[in-house]
């Protein structure tokens, strides 16, 4: 009954042109059309942050954005943070500081941390907690997540070669 629309979205540096139903959510486009299942769906009600990706350089909840709204835009997902086989300093931080347990919230936590550190490379503990307000973790607790972001902040300021992927 509704007219499908052709959208062009650059995801992790690669351009995709797809016909989608206007009501398709960005998270479903990423997971089901592009098979990028690293972005998770937790609550599907804009609360938990499991679906966070970067859209045109800003962290957004992809369960609350339509795929058609991303037309012409650039998306960065957890899969695009580091080159195949490598880890981004934020991923290393979460690994080293046990910033995850089941890992369900982790892609969203990492993408939200990515924006936080982009705006504020040396956040205080309070700033980290505030920056991650929109992300809920049900099992690790936030202590180690804060430590992971602090660790990532240090790694990023010491490593000369921080991968800055396309789309950002």
């Amino acid at each position: 009954m509704t007219t499908k629309r052709s959208i062009t979205v650059t995801v992790n540096g690669q351009q995709h042109q797809t016909e989608v139903e206007p009501r398709m959510l960005l998270v479903h486009y990423l997971r089901e059309v592009l098979d990028l299942t690293g972005t998770h769906i937790g609550c599907n009600t804009s609360q938990c942050g499991a679906c966070v990706v970067m859209l045109n350089g800003e962290a957004i909840k992809s369960c609350t954005v339509l795929a058609v709204q991303a037309d012409g835009g650039e998306v960065l997902t957890i899969e695009g943070l580091a080159p195949e086989g490598g880890l981004h300093p934020i991923q290393e931080g979460f690994w080293e500081k046990h910033g995850l347990q089941c890992g369900f919230c982790t892609p969203g936590m990492i993408m939200a941390s990515y924006q936080l550190l982009k705006n504020n490379p040396h956040p205080t503990e309070t700033e980290i907690r505030r920056g991650l307000e929109g992300n809920i973790c049900r099992c690790t607790g936030y202590q180690n997540i804060v430590k992971a972001v602090q660790d990532a902040s240090e790694r990023m300021s010491t490593s000369a070669e921080t991968p800055v992927p396309a789309g950002d």
């Binding site: 009954m1 509704t2 007219t3 629309r5 139903e21 206007p22 009501r23 398709m24 959510l25 479903h28 599907n44 009600t45 804009s46 609360q47 942050g49 966070v52 800003e58 962290a59 957004i60 909840k61 609350t64 954005v65 339509l66 058609v68 709204q69 037309d71 939200a112 924006q115 936080l116 920056g131 307000e133 929109g134 992300n135």
Partner: protein, 288 residues
């Protein structure tokens, strides 16, 4: 899986085009700005427009600038832009302050001031700020532009003076004169961060140190965002001691219909409205 009901999507590239589309599709159409009230409502099927007119990419409606005795803000300006504006921080500190308390970073990246005011959720933050700042709200429809004073804008819960074929395009904030301070305070719902009770306060002090003008708005607690006239009247003309302020805020929600839900009873919300009002007024005074 919760997805919106099917609709046709119309990206608008200008205000005129969006107004033409609104006229064409009438009751079956809705405007989409940041989508952070509308898309959740559509996913729950509380809203099922057949035509969605996306004004989110009309970049000419996204600005904050100074014009003689006003600061003007475009209808599609996002929370993040407001939060980061030095101009607003200088003239109306309560606006970036209230904005920084909206939802979370991801919500603030997408949500717009126009969307918040048009939606007019009684638990939202910016309606109170717009009221306390006595904003002039500029809207555009098929007949052209008109300006609605904030005092006439918020009619009822989710109901405003905006006509169905009008778009909210600009907020004009008159610059403060004299010694003025402003602040926003709220008791936030822990999960959503919406206001259980919020207060926006703008206080001006005269040469003798007494309060010469006060503009106090309450949000979250009452069924629509209101000016707390009884509080304003109890402050103006007085030296603002803690006792005077405590007495004044005890009238914060006098005679108003209150929101009653799982987050708070009527009595609790009346008490909390007084508490946040006291805090906002005290902080506004410190900033004079």
């Amino acid at each position: 899986m919760s997805v919106p009901a099917a609709f046709d999507y119309h990206p608008a590239t200008s205000v005129d085009e969006a107004i033409a589309l609104l006229q064409q599709y009438g009751d079956e159409a809705k405007l989409l700005a940041g989508g952070h009230s509308l898309i959740p409502a559509m996913k729950l099927r509380l809203s099922q427009p057949e035509h969605l007119i996306d004004i989110g990419k009309i970049s000419s409606l996204s600005y904050i600038r100074e014009e003689q005795d006003h600061i003007v803000i475009g209808g599609l300006t996002t929370y993040v832009q407001i939060e980061q504006s030095d101009l607003l921080r200088k003239h109306f500190p309560l606006l970036p302050e209230a904005t920084s308390m909206v939802g979370d970073q991801q919500v603030r990246n997408r949500g717009t001031i126009g969307g918040s005011i048009a939606h007019s959720d009684p638990a939202a933050d910016l309606p109170g700020v717009v009221l306390a700042l006595k904003a002039e709200i500029v809207v555009q429809g098929p007949q052209g532009k008109r300006t609605i004073p904030a005092d006439d804008f918020f009619v009822d819960t989710f109901t405003t003076a905006l006509a169905p074929d009008e778009i909210l395009i600009e907020f004009r904030l008159p610059k403060a004169t004299g010694s003025t301070g402003s602040a926003y305070d709220k008791l936030a719902n822990k999960a959503s961060h919406y206001a259980i009770a919020g207060c926006a306060a703008v206080i001006t002090r005269g040469q003798d140190g007494s309060c010469s003008a006060a503009s106090i708005a309450i949000t979250g607690a009452t069924v629509r965002t209101i000016r707390a006239r009884a509080v304003e009247n109890a402050l103006v003309g007085k030296q603002l001691s803690e006792t005077v302020i405590a007495e004044a805020v005890s009238h914060a929600t006098d005679g108003e219909d209150m929101i009653v839900d799982i987050h708070g009873s009527e009595e609790y919300r009346r008490k909390m409205a007084a508490v946040v009002a006291r805090r906002a007024i005290m902080r506004a005074l410190e900033r004079i």
